[in-house]
């Protein structure tokens, strides 16, 4: 969903986010919903700025979100209202995989006391990269749908055209039982899986009083249905756990059961980081994905040739059947004229990954001396996760480039870090050569932001940057030009990619050209795509993409943002008239195809009629799909039309299947593939926890990631040295590691010093007074901070034990106007198995008077 749609919500649940504090501008939408009468619910360990304006604040222990959400799932499934209301049944039977039957070999956590079938020991795949960190691994074969056995697969011909290859991937569709009675249906499995997540269990695990939980559950259910919608909003307090994706999945499961997906004021709002975090995954800085969420070619998969890659990555049913068109157009954008049908469009020149190259393992690799150099742009690892380990890694580099607005902690780690100050390390012993590049600010160049609602908005240069400050575009452009020059005469096969890399972004403006700045419009054009033979003819949308090399497009999802040389749709700023029900379609441009709500066919019933007048969004007018938004469906496919047998792509889906990116066209309550840690969410304790898992014998995720190295010890269960739960977060007044905000006097006077929030009860127990200096410690480190004693922090009773929370903003470091210890001196290098994010939201600590 997108933030503005929250205005249409009848109930907004904010969990895993302190939205008022961290996304104050987007928070205007829930506030407007509230002014219209919507209920606002905040589920969070702390009473925050968001709780202050919420109708209900439900306190839960940090790290217990799945238990709370699972409780809601169970409450909904057990409720009379849900069982009787025909809306829920119609939505769930038709638009989700509830009726699909799962294979007999699948065993649930209920059967195996906390693990799913298929759990194995983890063995590293390649000896060059033993850093993936898994403690275990699942073989996911038993999680699949039950289907008639596939016939022998014919050897597919090489393409292009690639349609026969895609067709060769077709397998018989899974079996279904639309009565939902068959015990192996997804619906029955889900119901059994969550049956022990009772209100009593929720209180036991999360510490949220049963009455408060029930009030939340009743409010959500009362505000869901044909005529009402509830939305959820989350941010990194859901993701920064060893089971983050499962928490989000659990919310999606709940919202599907409640018919709250694809409709106005419904859905799961992922509040992403500010500025362009969304953009940085669309046109990715991610290691495992290439543009447009295609999997990065990998040495660990059957990716040996373009044909192999396509066979492995293409799904024959649903929109991803077009993967060959996306991939070939991408390769054309990488290698231009050199990419031909004969050489697999240069696929062999493309780099391949050999494991997890995300932030945590890369810094482990640095600690092991496996990494020579680091380009650090817009990041501040010296105060990042388990900061002393990260700084140790930096100290083992040969060279480090920091490009930032200020001399960050990373730029000065060799001079000002705690290790230098304590005498543990001497500057002259650090061999890393550090280069600092002053960066231009955003108002000093043209470019686009992609915000959390997938919307691109163009920003214009207002002034020249001062002195030597240059844009990030400049840096990348100049680096690429120099590397191309370096490799121009290489005869090594591995350098072919660089030799053929298309890089034509020089600015035509004489002033910018002289400064060495590239032209942002040329880059946008490359991302949008064009006809290979007529580069001035831009592509109008991803429907134009071809798999034969005749189209060039870096990122298929952005195709259409720049449909003609004089039409940059990201630069539009035309609002709808006040009070109009529309989706503000002339304001910026949202991928895909300027669509604001994804899967919005679900906003109409089976027959294509709006579920209700109040919740009208997209509908069938007798000849085509129409509505307030760009319909997310084949434009003229009638609502009740059947899927074509043996067809591929959208033709393989029927007129009632809204989830067109899914092979089966429906929303997944049960996830048969794509997740490393299970097809259903289960409550696992954080890696460091004060209690044994009350739900299963399995304490924490059996497949999480942990990197064993000096300085990364964990507190075992029940460790009395570290009895309190620590949770880290941010403040409105500062930004991330403070690299931008702690240099502004207007901001540092608002939050001048590093502090830690504790309850008066804990303060009394430890003899700590308000604003006293205290020491906070974990097995990784010990820091000093001032105590802010407040009743906004509360005491929890978890499974019969008293548990205190300690809250700590993570904005400080040793550079800037306002300095203080970094919260991340305390965090551990542990990761989620799917995305390798760390667990910064729940770990164990101690506090004492300093």
């Amino acid at each position: 969903m997108y933030p503005r749609s929250m205005v249409d919500s009848d109930c907004v649940v904010i969990q895993g986010s302190n939205m008022a504090e961290c996304h104050p501008v987007a928070f205007r939408w829930p506030m407007q919903a509230k002014l219209k009468g919507a209920k606002l619910i905040h589920v969070d360990p702390r009473f925050t700025r968001t709780s202050a304006v919420a109708d209900i604040h439900a306190p839960i222990r940090a790290g217990s979100d799945v238990a709370f959400l699972g409780g809601l799932v169970n409450y909904v499934l057990q409720s009379e209202r849900w069982k009787r209301d025909a809306f829920f049944r119609e939505f769930v039977v038709n638009y989700t995989n509830a009726a699909t039957i799962v294979g007999d070999e699948f065993k649930d956590t209920e059967d195996l006391d906390g693990v799913f079938s298929g759990l194995m020991r983890y063995a590293p795949s390649v000896k060059e990269w033993p850093l993936d960190g898994f403690v275990g691994q699942y073989d996911t074969r038993t999680w699949q749908y039950a289907a008639a056995p596939a016939g022998p697969r014919a050897t597919p011909p090489a393409g292009p055209p690639f349609d026969p290859l895609v067709r060769s991937l077709l397998t018989p569709p899974p079996r279904r039982d639309e009565t939902l009675q068959q015990p192996r249906t997804v619906f029955q499995i889900v119901k059994r899986h969550f049956s022990r997540y009772t209100p009593e269990m929720v209180e036991r695990v999360t510490g949220c009083p049963k009455e408060t939980f029930l009030k939340v559950a009743e409010t959500i259910l009362a505000n869901s249905g044909r005529d009402r919608t509830t939305s959820f909003a989350y941010a990194v307090a859901w993701t920064q756990h060893t089971n983050g994706p499962q928490t989000i999945g659990c919310c999606a499961l709940l919202q599907l059961l409640l018919g709250n997906i694809g409709r106005p004021g419904a859905g799961v709002m992922a509040l992403r980081g500010h500025a362009s975090i969304q953009g940085s995954t669309d046109v990715p800085t991610l290691y495992h994905s290439i543009h447009g969420y295609m999997n990065h070619p990998s040495a660990l998969k059957r990716h040996d040739s373009l044909r192999d890659w396509l066979l492995t990555e293409t799904t024959p049913r649903g929109y991803w059947a077009n993967t060959p068109k996306f991939m070939v157009s991408y390769l054309k954008s990488m290698y231009g004229a050199a990419a031909t049908k004969e050489n697999d469009f240069g696929y062999d020149w493309h780099p391949r990954i050999i494991g997890d190259h995300s932030h945590l393992p890369m810094f482990v690799a640095m600690n092991e001396g496996r990494v020579k150099g680091l380009l650090c742009i817009g990041q501040n690892p010296a105060t990042s996760l388990n900061a002393s380990v990260e700084r140790k890694g930096l100290a083992r580099l040969e060279w480090l480039v920091v490009k930032d607005n200020w001399l960050t902690e990373t730029a000065t780690f060799w001079q000002n870090s705690p290790e230098i100050k304590s005498g543990q390390l001497r500057s002259q012993d650090i061999r890393t050569e550090v280069f600092f590049f002053p960066a231009a600010q955003v108002a000093e160049y043209d470019g686009s932001f992609t915000n959390t609602q997938r919307m691109l908005q163009w920003h214009f240069k207002a002034a020249n940057p001062p002195g030597d400050c240059r844009t990030d575009l400049w840096f990348t452009h100049q680096l690429a030009r120099r590397l191309k020059q370096m490799y121009a005469h290489s005869t090594l096969p591995r350098d072919e990619g660089f030799k053929h890399l298309v890089w034509e972004y020089d600015s035509d403006d004489p002033h910018e050209r002289e400064r060495g700045e590239p032209d942002a419009h040329k880059i946008l054009k490359e991302i949008n795509g064009y006809y290979t033979d007529q580069p001035d003819r831009h592509l109008a949308g991803f429907g134009d993409l071809k798999d034969d090399g005749s189209t060039t497009c870096a990122s298929w999802i952005y195709c259409g943002v720049f449909p003609a040389p004089d039409r940059n749709l990201a630069a539009r700023k035309q609002a709808d008239p006040p009070g109009a029900p529309g989706a503000q379609l002339d304001w910026g441009w949202a991928w895909p195809a300027n669509r604001r709500i994804l899967y919005n066919r679900a906003s109409a019933d089976r027959e294509g009629r709006p579920w209700s007048e109040r919740k009208k969004w997209v509908w069938w007018d007798g000849a085509k799909w129409t509505g307030y938004d760009v319909p997310d469906f084949a434009p003229t496919k009638a609502p009740l039309s059947k899927a074509a047998p043996d067809a591929i792509g959208l033709d393989a889906l029927s007129g009632t299947e809204p989830f067109i990116m899914k092979a089966d066209g429906v929303g997944w309550l049960y996830v048969p593939g794509g997740l490393a840690d299970g097809p259903l969410p289960a409550h696992y304790e954080p890696v460091e926890s004060p209690v044994p898992n009350p739900l299963y014998r399995q304490q924490s995720s059996p497949v999480l990631k942990y990197w064993k190295l000096d300085g990364n010890a964990l507190a075992p269960l029940g460790d009395q040295r570290f009895p309190h739960i620590m949770t880290t977060y941010r403040l409105t007044e500062h930004y991330l590691s403070g690299a931008m905000s702690r240099w502004s006097p207007w901001l540092t006077e608002l939050q001048p010093e590093f502090f830690v929030e504790i309850s008066p009860e804990l303060a009394a127990e430890k003899g700590i007074g308000n604003t006293d200096w205290i020491a906070v410690s974990t097995p990784r480190g010990r820091i000093r901070a001032k105590a802010l004693v407040t009743r906004r922090m509360r005491v929890f009773t978890i499974d019969g034990r008293t548990v205190h929370h300690v809250g700590m903003p993570f904005h400080w470091g040793y550079q800037g106007l306002s300095t203080g210890d970094a919260a991340n001196e305390l965090t551990a290098l542990v990761g989620d198995p799917n995305v390798s994010i760390h667990e910064g939201k729940a770990f164990m600590c101690n506090v004492e008077k300093a």
Partner: protein, 260 residues
């Protein structure tokens, strides 16, 4: 004269983000206390503590929690000069530096101010202070320079939740009444308007929707003008003059006739 303009601050939708404080400082180029090197106050999330010559907007944070947390509120309120219709500061200013503008707002003209500080004591809300850069008394101007060119004040522009509303007093009062009605409908019976009618200093051109007693927000329940003391002080002046006169009569009575 243009129509009277002002602020209506609805504290029930304030999220305490302090965007108003920063926008105000940025537009009016006000310095930070001690160059931004501060000390944690320990008073909730409030570290600027007051309105003064370099803080023309100030967000207050009031934590109200029962010991068992069954009852809890965290009140937030963005405070500012009230631009009183009968303004104490304007009454006492000896140089005429403080004027009433065509928007019915109260502005201190820095170049006319001699720094006597009379206005600081005269303001019943304590909004004025001396700006150390100029050495003169300063406070919110309701962004007079922005209003002159048809822009809304920086704080109202920056407010993400429409807690700070800017407009004509007539419109703002309508808006406030509508919001009151809505709150009463949803059972928030504690809500009331502070300073919206003439009984308070002729009306505050910056008025508030509050949900607790004024004192809880650091506001006077019954603010008074310095001129309230005029009658009494006039009587005392007369008495004083008489006493001095009589004393001189007695003191000098014998002077003429006495020998030197």
């Amino acid at each position: 004269m243009a129509e009277p303009m002002g602020f209506f601050t609805d504290t029930t939708v304030c999220i305490g983000c302090k965007a108003c404080e920063v926008a105000c400082k940025e537009w009016n180029q006000l310095p930070a206390t001690n160059g931004g090197h501060g000390t944690l106050s320990g008073d909730s999330y409030d570290n600027t503590r007051q309105l003064d010559g370099i803080h023309w907007r100030h967000v207050k944070f009031i934590e109200q929690f029962s010991p068992d947390r069954s009852q809890g509120r965290w009140l937030m309120m963005s405070d500012v000069c009230k631009h009183c219709v009968r303004a104490g500061c304007l009454e006492v200013c000896p140089t005429g530096a403080i004027i009433r503008t065509e928007f019915d707002t109260v502005v201190i003209q820095s170049d006319m101010c001699n720094g006597c500080r009379d206005c600081i004591g005269a303001c019943p809300f304590g909004v004025i202070g001396v700006n150390p850069v100029s050495g003169t008394a300063q406070k919110c101007t309701l962004c007079y320079d922005r209003m002159k060119v048809g822009l809304e004040p920086a704080c109202a522009k920056a407010c993400p939740t429409k807690s700070i509303n800017f407009g004509t007093i007539v419109d703002l009062k309508k808006m406030a009444q509508a919001r009151m009605g809505q709150l009463q409908q949803t059972g928030e019976t504690r809500a009331y308007l502070y300073g919206d009618d003439e009984s308070m200093l002729g009306g505050l051109n910056s008025f508030y929707l509050l949900v607790d007693k004024p004192q809880v927000y650091g506001l006077p329940p019954d603010p008074q003008l310095p001129s309230r003391n005029l009658k009494a002080s006039a009587v005392w002046s007369v008495v004083g003059a008489v006493v001095v006169g009589l004393m001189s009569v007695f003191s000098f009575r014998n002077r003429g006739g006495g020998d030197v």
